[in-house]
């Protein structure tokens, strides 16, 4: 059975698309056949982050409307075996995704893939609802900042009341907290919420902490998911996250400020 994982947050710009690309790529690197589905209708961006923007011919909405089949529409990644992308449509019609249409496409994908990663749009409206409705698990992307944490909590409310699992009274969606753009230095200075603070407020299990990193911008500039930059802190943090998603017990890294010399410790740095 395929596992459907939604990457969601409520707030925009917190790192959902970056995380969908990085996690999907990581799962495929670990040998699992994975498709990343862009649910951000109208604002297609996953294709850019994955570096396949010029290879988009058909999109999600074309498949729903029967204008193309999945085989014609899925884009196979050229770097990583077992990795595919289903691009979003750029239509301005917000109602282009119907529950029946999305269900049909997900069912078809489920026959072929082990993991279906749904990159959610921002907000708590229909689009975000559609991305999370069929999910088995949810990665709640959160920045250590008040509005992001509050919006994540709202999304948690939706996951437990508006999803198919909730409506059918099935086991709840498995929720994971992914804290991104984490800056240990600012946390040490008391200027940024710590991992523990956010965890205490949202009260869901932590799946990963991704540091604020130049590597993420470099990766998006060149259309490479950051997990392919295995030297980078963010790339490694995402690979750790993927390993935990697969059930492994991995120590958390990049949570503290690197040790400084004596002078810096006395005078601050």
């Amino acid at each position: 059975m395929a596992k459907i994982i939604v990457v969601t947050s409520g707030k925009g710009g917190v790192g959902k698309t970056t995380s969908s690309a990085a996690i999907g790529t990581g799962l495929a690197l670990s040998g699992h056949k994975t498709v990343i589905v862009d649910f951000d209708i109208g604002l297609r961006n996953l294709d850019l982050i994955m570096g396949c923007e010029r290879r988009v011919v058909y999109d999600f909405v074309n498949v729903i409307n029967g204008e193309a089949n999945l085989k014609q529409t899925l884009i196979k990644d050229k770097r990583v075996e077992n990795l595919f992308i289903l691009p979003a449509s750029q239509t301005r019609d917000k109602d282009a995704l119907t529950k029946e249409g999305v269900e049909k496409v997900l069912n078809e994908l489920a026959k072929d893939f082990e993991f279906i990663i749904c990159d959610s749009p921002a907000g708590i409206e229909a689009g975000a609802m559609m991305a999370l409705y069929f999910a088995d698990e949810a990665v709640v992307v959160t920045n250590p900042e008040v509005s992001s944490v509050r919006d994540s909590d709202r999304i948690l409310g939706m996951l437990s009341s508006k999803s198919r699992r909730a409506e059918r009274n099935e086991d709840a969606i498995k929720e994971h907290l992914l804290l991104t753009r984490y800056n240990p230095e600012r946390v040490a200075k008391g200027e940024m919420l710590s991992v523990e603070d956010v965890q205490e407020i949202l009260a869901i299990p932590l799946i990963g902490v991704i540091p604020e990193s130049q590597a993420v911008l470099n990766a998006s500039n060149s259309g490479q998911p950051v997990t392919l930059d295995q030297e980078s802190d963010a790339g490694q943090a995402y690979l750790d996250t993927v390993s935990r998603l697969l059930g492994n017990n991995v120590d958390f890294r990049f949570l503290t400020v690197e040790k400084k010399g004596l002078l810096k410790r006395i005078f601050g740095g």
Partner: protein, 86 residues
């Protein structure tokens, strides 16, 4: 922590302010979500009634419904009145 950080730390850190504010608002919003849809309007109505007598700010009232058992739900109304002397 460096010496400079030590002297700076006498001021309250913004991260702890953020945490306290979040704890309050998140608890409030969870309460809202788990309660019936009429709760916000009930809260506004009660606020209007009280304001006929005492002028209280909107954040000084909270209404919540707590399910104690299958047969019993308790409506909890919390109102803080301003200081009498003012």
């Amino acid at each position: 922590m460096s010496l400079l950080d030590y002297f700076r730390s006498t001021k309250k850190k913004t991260a702890s302010t953020a945490k306290e504010r979040l704890q309050i608002i998140v608890a409030h919003e969870r309460n809202r979500r788990s309660g019936p849809d009429y709760l916000p309007q009930l809260e506004r109505d009660i606020l209007e009634v009280i304001r006929k007598y005492v002028d209280i700010p909107a954040d000084q009232i909270s209404v919540s419904l707590e399910q104690r058992s299958d047969e019993l739900s308790v409506l909890e109304l919390n109102v803080s009145f301003p200081d009498e002397k003012r």
